[in-house]
């Protein structure tokens, strides 16, 4: 009798395991067991450091540093719960110093019905383009300004979207001192009115209000404890034409970023696109004035940012093109970007058998046209005035970029790119570093074989400033869909100081199978600025062996 019971239990246990080996049965099993779903992902980065005094790679006392995280998501019916365990023992060099130790800084539970969604715990949220609120994560940069609190999203009728939230922002393994609260609404008219559903003109408007509270403990200044901001936006499209824009306003918000002035801040962003088969033209512009917004007045770098100021310049991927990366200047700037894409169609003279793509992008940014208010007259500590429509004299950034993509036949394809960049390192990175004028050329050729592929990148940068000329060569061999090896050398051959003409070589090998990726590399990394999505951080020079593992399950 007892044995039968045990046997039954074993069977109960074993059967589902066996069953899950086939997909169809696995689903039945999950449904009948009513256990819900668990999935998630994992990443580990470990680096073993070898000191190298020539390039300035420091001696790391721990020898080896490690960053890792696991996300787990559990869904059952209308509920989803999730958490992220993070581990920095100790954090990789160049990673923000606040990441130390281990913990679960991110956990939440969400209930979602047809028209309502309630989240308690950690969440990421964006109002419109993010000019007054965007909490997000860039794990590779160590940027994570998630809110911890409560968020409610509702869709009372189709086409009307409402959000409300309150919370405190994440600051490494603790929280920032400020409380962030906000509401946002959006109406998409073509969804709201059935009559408009099939109209060619698509139109929507939205608006949000966001405020932060931080206690004033300053012994000398009277600081606003509540700082409110508001934004309005629209989106419009008809056939091949789209236009969207947003305007944001923030009341005075004295902070370390703006030298504790009592001036208001505002931002406007406008973007237009015309696109048809084989052709697209895009224009965008922004004016940003005193819009740094954090839930702690004294926070710096990428810490406790409440809003997001998009940089409009082209996001490059080739390494020498990102040597001097632009980041939006939330303190003040006027920015523009224009881009034309054209595809010579298949079979045309310039198109050949597969078509040829040409892209031209011209973007740039200048200072605002500001006038400082002299200290004796500035009784209300407004700091400066700015003229709304005139462009300031100081060039922050220019990028004139041309790219041609061509596939010749089934085996060969190539990308050619050239750019002229102007980079005001003084303003963007560090005072006293001057402005850099650089000409950069790229040749990227891929040769596809029966099984694998061989790819070569040759890059060259010519500049008289900073560390002068650089050359980069990369060879990448994709052996098959699972394995690849690569070797590259970045060479500062033109450095005016002959003894500083360093090589930064790197070799790597990787294995990919489905949702798993393992890469082992050895090499040197120059000191520089590392950016993802327009947000950047300084990375010191390093030399060593790096192991990266990512996996989803």
């Amino acid at each position: 009798m007892i044995t039968t019971k045990i046997l039954q239990s074993i069977l109960k246990c074993a059967l589902p395991v066996l069953a899950s080996s086939t997909l169809a049965v696995a689903q039945v099993n999950l449904n009948t067991m009513g256990l819900g779903e668990i999935h998630g992902n994992f990443q580990a980065n470990a680096q073993y450091y070898i000191p190298d005094s020539t390039i300035g790679a420091a001696d790391v006392p721990e020898k080896m540093l490690f960053n890792g995280f696991v996300n787990i998501l559990y869904t059952k019916g209308k509920f989803t719960a999730g958490l992220r365990y993070e581990n920095y023992l100790n954090a990789l060099q160049g990673y923000p110093a606040g990441y130390k130790g281990t913990g679960i800084p991110y956990r939440f539970i969400t209930y979602r019905s047809d028209f309502l969604e309630i989240t308690a715990g950690s969440f990421y949220e964006q109002f419109g383009n993010g000019l007054i609120l965007r909490t997000y994560e860039e794990r590779n940069l160590g940027l994570d300004n998630a809110l911890d609190g409560v968020r409610i999203k509702a869709e009372p009728v189709k086409g009307i979207y409402l959000k409300g939230l309150i919370g405190k922002q994440r600051s490494f393994f603790t929280q920032g001192p400020g409380i962030v609260r906000g509401i946002d609404g959006e109406i998409q008219f073509n969804e709201l009115f059935a009559k408009l559903a099939d109209k060619k003109l698509i139109f929507g408007i939205g608006g949000g209000f966001l405020s932060k509270f931080q206690e004033d403990k300053d012994p000398t200044l009277v600081l606003p404890q509540n700082v409110g901001s508001t934004a309005v936006r629209f989106n419009l499209s008809r056939n091949n034409f789209s236009l969207n824009g947003e305007y944001a306003y923030k009341i005075n918000d004295p902070s370390l970023d703006n030298n504790f002035i009592y001036k208001h801040g505002d931002a406007i962003l406008l973007q237009a696109l015309y696109a048809t088969k084989g052709f697209a033209v895009m224009l965008s512009g922004s004016r940003i004035d005193n819009m740094s917004f954090r839930s702690d007045r004294t926070a710096q770098l990428t810490n406790l940012l409440i809003n997001y100021i998009p940089a409009l310049n082209k996001q490059h991927t080739y390494s020498l093109l990102t040597f001097y990366p632009y980041a939006a200047q939330s303190k003040g700037e006027m920015e523009f970007s224009s881009e034309v894409k054209y595809k010579f169609s298949k079979g045309s003279l310039l198109g050949g058998e597969y078509g040829t793509e040409i892209l031209v992008n011209y973007s740039g940014s200048n200072s605002l046209d500001t006038t400082n208010i002299s200290i004796d007259k500035d009784t209300r500590k407004k700091g400066y005035t700015s003229s709304y429509f005139s462009i300031g004299p100081q060039v922050y950034f220019r990028d004139m970029y041309v790219e041609i993509n061509k596939k010749f036949n089934k085996q060969w394809k190539s990308t050619l790119a050239y750019t002229y960049q102007v980079y005001n390192k003084d303003v963007i990175q560090k005072p006293g570093t001057g402005t850099i004028y650089a000409n950069i050329a790229i040749v990227d050729i891929t040769y596809k074989m029966n099984k694998g592929a061989l790819r070569m990148e040759a890059q060259h940068m010519a500049t008289k400033q900073d560390q002068q000329n650089w050359a980069y060569l990369l060879l990448e061999y994709t052996i098959n869909t699972n394995w690849y090896v690569a070797a590259g050398d970045l060479y500062n051959y033109g450095n005016d100081h002959a003894n500083e003409r360093y090589h930064y070589y790197n070799i790597s090998a990787g294995f990919i199978k489905e949702a798993n990726r393992i890469e082992l590399s050895y090499g040197k990394q120059r000191a520089g600025v590392f950016c993802v999505g327009g947000v950047c951080r300084n990375v010191p020079a390093s030399n060593g062996v790096t192991l990266t593992i990512t996996s989803s399950f």
Binding site: A26, G40, N129, G130, I202, N244, A275, E339, E514, T550
Partner: protein
């Protein structure tokens, strides 16, 4: 005896959780994303009349992503004709480049369904580490295959899987 039974039940429970972790057969989680003209859509509504779906995460600044989608675009008409498959390309471009997505897609004349996941809510819900990242859904809308990164020729594997799903064969993996 009772104790033993409970222990077994506990092990059962754990087995169940291990089962639930198997990468096969999950439905698409719910997240709000946008169409190119700004309309909102929930990802749990993705469907293709019982035919397979490919979900590909990409961005205008991601070179290998565009290589993969270009490679599929060249054969897409044939794929659709043979298997009825639908490709949903989800861009994670944020507000600095979201408008460029439409330009990229139209100038390249991609025939895919395109959405924008501006603050990466869907990417997070799908546990995507980095892009390019591709999922394949069977005719019932369950995720049966996923793959990170793109190597030249990967599209051939994707098509093999799609063909198997379309003809009702089981995946070996």
């Amino acid at each position: 005896m009772k104790k033993l039974n409970y222990t077994l039940l506990l092990i059962c429970g754990l087995c169940g959780i291990v089962n639930a972790q198997a990468p096969l057969g999950k439905p698409v989680p719910s997240a709000d994303i946008k169409t190119l003209d700004g309309k909102n859509i929930n990802t749990s509504t993705f469907s293709n009349n019982g035919k397979p779906i490919i979900i590909s995460f990409w961005a205008t600044w991601c070179k290998p992503c565009k290589k993969e989608l270009d490679a599929i675009a060249e054969q897409y008409e044939e794929w659709v004709a043979q298997t009825g498959v639908k490709l949903i390309a989800v861009s994670i471009d944020d507000s600095r480049s979201a408008l460029k997505v439409g330009g990229e897609v139209k100038s390249k004349d991609w025939k895919f369904d395109i959405y924008i996941d501006e603050n990466q809510d869907f990417k997070r819900a799908m546990s995507v580490n980095s892009i390019p990242y591709t999922f394949i859904l069977d005719g019932r809308g369950n995720i049966v295959w996923q793959h990170n990164s793109y190597a030249e020729g990967d599209e051939a594997n994707i098509y093999e899987i799609i063909k198997k799903l379309a003809s009702g064969e089981k995946l070996n993996e």
